[in-house]
């Protein structure tokens, strides 16, 4: 005897295939009316079905489903062929398999997006990337913020991230790229990437898993160092901020990346205090509470801001 949940799924599946015949309809009604648990399970099955039906990647990304292509040509391939020709005409030799695609997040938002080549891009808070896949290259422009990429292996089609003149190239690997004011930070968690500056004629630098690089945009230097804390630095993918003996100054700037409710430190002497812990990125007040308890200092919270180290304006704020 199938479980109630499975019975409910069977009914939803049969109904989605087309109308039930009168006998089936009667059987369904008897099943449905017979038990309130059946009705609950039926709602759940409808929600699940919709959830699975509702997963859709934009149709202009429908390039290469992750299975062996067959001779059969679908409607979508034909449509893509047509738009590809149009794009080739204006892109001077490039054949676009998909139109450049813009992905953005707002402050406090995360987004994990499957790319048409089976790679996955995770966008951190307040970030913006443009993705284009052609026959020759998979090209991602990091316009703003930070993104982590799990790159599907495809030796024939390098995966290149561009930040201004800085290039980060991977074949099949996982790495993050973050745009900073004076350069670009690259953290490699799997495989190897090559990075270089397009405007300089220098050899690309190879960065291995477990290393990070800072590609300066003001000097020609590319600093590579080992990074035992790569997973910590990428904790944002899990919605966490991990502090490992980090200063309050660093912790505050990290929280402020994610939240409209900004943390301010009233007493500069506190900025060099160090902290350890795992916090939710969207819970700055949880962190502030920990700081208050650890340092035994006043912390004041209002919807707009959190002031560590003494409230200045009592009318606006509530003490934690």
């Amino acid at each position: 005897m199938a479980s109630i949940d499975d019975q409910a799924i069977d009914w939803v599946a049969r109904q989605s295939r087309g109308g039930l015949d009168p006998d089936e309809q009667a059987a369904f009604e008897a099943w449905y009316d017979g038990d309130s648990r059946h009705q609950g399970a039926y709602l759940r099955a409808q929600g699940l079905w919709q959830s699975l039906e509702g997963v859709r990647i934009d149709s202009d990304w429908l390039v290469a489903p992750a299975v062996t292509p067959r001779a059969a040509v679908s409607r979508r391939d034909l449509l893509l062929g047509a738009s590809g020709l149009a794009a080739a005409a204006c892109a001077g030799g490039w054949v676009w398999l998909s139109r450049p695609k813009s992905l953005q997040t707002r402050v406090g938002e995360f987004r994990k997006v499957p790319l048409p080549d089976r790679s996955v891009a995770s966008l951190n808070t307040d970030s913006h990337v443009e993705v284009a896949v052609t026959h020759e290259v998979r090209r991602v422009v990091l316009v703003k913020g930070e993104a982590w990429f799990a790159v599907a292996k495809d030796p024939k089609k390098p995966f290149v991230v561009e930040v201004d003149d800085v290039r980060v190239k991977a074949v099949g690997t996982a790495f993050s790229v973050r745009r900073k004011t004076s350069g670009v930070e690259v953290i490699v968690t799997e495989g190897t990437v090559a990075t270089w500056r397009e405007d300089l004629h220098a050899q690309p630098k190879l960065i291995q898993a477990g290393e990070e690089a800072f590609v300066s945009t003001t000097t020609p230097a590319i600093d590579v160092s080992s990074n035992a804390q790569a997973e910590t630095r990428l904790a944002w993918r899990d919605g966490n901020i991990v502090l490992q003996n980090d200063t309050l100054a660093d912790a505050v700037s990290e929280f402020n990346r994610y939240n409209a409710q900004k943390i301010e430190v009233a007493d500069p002497a506190l900025l060099q205090k160090r902290f350890v812990g795992v916090y939710h990125v969207d819970q700055p007040s949880q962190f502030a509470r920990a700081v208050k308890l650890l340092l035994n200092i006043p912390v004041a919270v209002s919807p707009q801001r959190i002031v560590i180290g003494g409230p200045k304006d009592n009318s606006e704020i509530n003490t934690l």
Partner: protein
Amino acid sequence: MPYGKSCGDSAPATHPDAPRSKTGGRGAAPEIVTWVRFHVIPYEAELRRWIGTVYYEKSEIDDLIQDIYFKLLKLDSVAHITDPRAYLYQAARNTIAGRLRRKRIVSIRNVQDLDELGVYDGAPSPERVAAARAELKWVLCLIANLPERCSQVMKLRKIYGLSQAEAASRLAVSENIIEKETIKGVKMISEMAKRIGVSSSVSAGDTGVVRKK
């Protein structure tokens, strides 16, 4: 945080495959189904764990969950629900309390402390800011965890939106097999949803599939 609103931008308001007319007036309004899809199913695993900590008759948890869905089914509208999580846990609390009342004899171990039922102390997850995206990520994770063939079929059908016939020709199998694999996939995901919730489905592998931690 525009939690309640954010699912509007990608959520279809109604679903063509599940209109009430086909079900003879039975089933929930499309609005309720969509709400359940975004705000309940991805959090069911977490809800089950919470119930497990306050309700000791483990054999009855499935029934309780179905009762909770039944309560949601009976709603006329979800427009008034501003905090879906608080609402869900309140519904769970009422359902547990009702069940205990019906039992009349309550084992002292049944519930740690009846008052505790009202207190849910879980921190909100960051995905809350975008329910629709959280749900998408979660579903993709579950699909990636299916057995190979089943996962392929679900990806083609549900992610790439191919018809049954198109998926069949892609994989060089019969439509019948595609249909069977689809139903099998939904059933496996239904079981996974009982254990793996939104907050436990993160991290990705190097092939673009998402695997559970």
